[in-house]
Amino acid sequence: MTLTVQAPVDLPLETTRSDSPGPKGRRGLVMTLVLAVIALFWISPLALLVITAVRPLSDFIGNGPLSWPADFTWKNFSDAWGIGNFATTYRNSAILAIIKVPLGVLVSAMLGFALAKLRMKFRRTVMFTVFLGLTIPIYITIVPVFIMMRSAGMTDSIFGLIGPYLAFGIPFEVLVLQSFFRQIPDEIIEAAKVDGAGDWRVFFTMILPLSVPALVTVAILDAVATWNEFLFALILLNSDAHKTIPVGLLNFQGQFANNNTGLAAGILIAVVPILIAYTLLQRWIVGGLTAGSLKG
């Protein structure tokens, strides 16, 4: 079970393996067609969502969900944007991610550095305890966390989410980062120390710059997880002004149950940032995932 993070490069497009002695490319073409059909089927829920979001409700009801729109409109988006309170939920989710992700990556990198490169007592115990967090379901903590936040006066505030989000992000981030740091040769660290650098300088001027690929991967996966988190946000936030995207979407879904096109537009509004980010950054995400682990 090697868990190594390489710089996330695209998986090679062509395999080096040459099978099929027969007519070259024929089998490849058939396979491409088969996969293309499956892919179309796979993506059809999202495709239908897009098509529905840009047609008037009357057109959708008149011609059925599977028809090609006779008419196009942007009105669904403006309706959904206003009623779904998306300006607020977007802002809340964004503030949360902007504070939480860098903080989480920094403290995880620090712990990862101590585990990978410093002579730390009880190292194995600390590692085991932290990695055990990967298996622990969020809902075992919600009652005590709810009580803690209530007595701290931090319920119904997105800042109350930062602590629990950090805690549940740490196991995965430390797991990936410490294994990456371990690949950095000890010699260069020792050389720096001979020159008089302390642990902090080594960490900030050598380890972090050398680990940018791993840090970016971890940050992206963490941002996706933060953006998508639902249970803590559901129990800790109650007023509309403080809701995050997933909780806002749940309410919106209830309100728009009978407006199929508006609902489609609202769902799209909620997922578009993630889809854009994923499309642009997918090679990092793919690199991070194939590196061996996934945050649940």
């Binding site: 079970m1 099929s20 490849g28 293309a36 649940g296």
Partner: protein, 296 residues
């Protein structure tokens, strides 16, 4: 020589300065709440009032007599088996196909992995919308191909609801094994296949004697992470069916939530969470140990 320099500088407590921010957050917001849940599970606390009584293990003794718990355990088991077996099998097949001579691999990979980055609540909204009895795409498609008899309220009846919720789970969970298997397949040396071909091994024999054994580490990671993940199921079911109709889609996670936040039985709800957490930890420990061992 250099090693001793590394030892002297920094001091014995230096590693802990790096470790403490992450460990502090982890203990405060994950370990401590999880442990205090153990205590709450031994009380009759309602979740609201200031006082409660220690009741020993009686919450745990109540569990087997609660018909909803019986349903939830059954649903958790079905969920675990299906949402591990089906996505893993499809993911493996897709990876093998994508590892051959196929065009457009980056796009195909993007398509199959996309559902995995969407918020679970949005996936629930999308599929709830597809399953809509009148205007949903699924019933419309069935009617369009003349299978009107099969069109039904997928999420609204006991017999189909759980299976209907599993479809989006399969949709979103296929991408990860696919990526992991794809990476693993590309690590198998060609020479193995070439030698086998020279020896007259059929494709099928090559698959069973070269491909499958080489994928063992990937199988292990996929299985371990899927198992850990399966026990945590909450968001999809909560957002799609709210545990209903009746109690037909309750799982331990949702039943815990309802007990704590709807029926004011925080003690009992926490006992449910403790049980599922212990199972999740027991299942996850071999994986956690392998990751800890790997590191030293």
């Amino acid at each position: 020589m250099a090693g001793t320099v590394a030892l002297k500088r920094g001091g014995r407590w230096s590693p802990w300065l790096f470790a403490i921010p992450a460990l502090g957050v982890y203990v405060a917001f994950l370990v401590y709440p999880a442990l205090s849940s153990l205590w709450f599970s031994l009380t009759n606390w309602d979740g609201l009032s200031a006082s409660y009584k220690f009741v020993g293990l009686s919450n745990y003794f109540k569990l087997p007599h609660d018909p909803v718990v019986v349903t939830a355990v059954k649903n958790n088991l079905i969920w675990t088996v299906v949402t591990i077996a089906v996505p893993t099998a499809i993911g493996l097949l897709l990876a093998i196909a994508l590892n051959g001579k196929v065009r457009g691999k980056p796009i195909l990979r993007l398509v199959f992995y996309t559902p995995a980055v969407l918020p679970l609540v949005s996936i629930a909204s999308i599929w709830g919308w597809l399953y809509n009895p009148q205007y949903g795409a699924i019933n419309s498609a069935l009617r369009a191909i003349g299978l009107d008899g099969l069109a039904q309220a997928w999420l609204g009846q006991d017999s189909t609801a759980l299976w209907a919720v599993m479809v989006p789970a399969i949709w979103l969970r296929t991408g990860f094994p696919m990526l992991l298997y794809l990476a693993a397949l590309q690590g198998i040396p060609n020479e193995l296949y070439e030698a086998a071909t020279v020896d007259g091994a059929t494709k099928w024999q090559q698959f069973w004697h070269i491909t499958m054994p080489s994928l063992r580490p990937a199988h292990y990671i996929v299985l371990a992470l899927s198992l850990i993940d399966s026990f945590k199921v909450f968001d999809l079911i909560y957002a799609m069916t709210y545990g209903g109709p009746g109690t037909s889609t309750q799982v331990m996670g949702t039943w815990m939530y309802f007990n704590v936040f709807q029926y004011y039985q925080a003690g009992y709800g926490t006992a449910i969470a403790v049980v599922i957490t212990l199972v999740a930890i027991a299942v996850g420990i071999p994986y956690v140990r392998s990751q800890t061992r790997e590191a030293s």
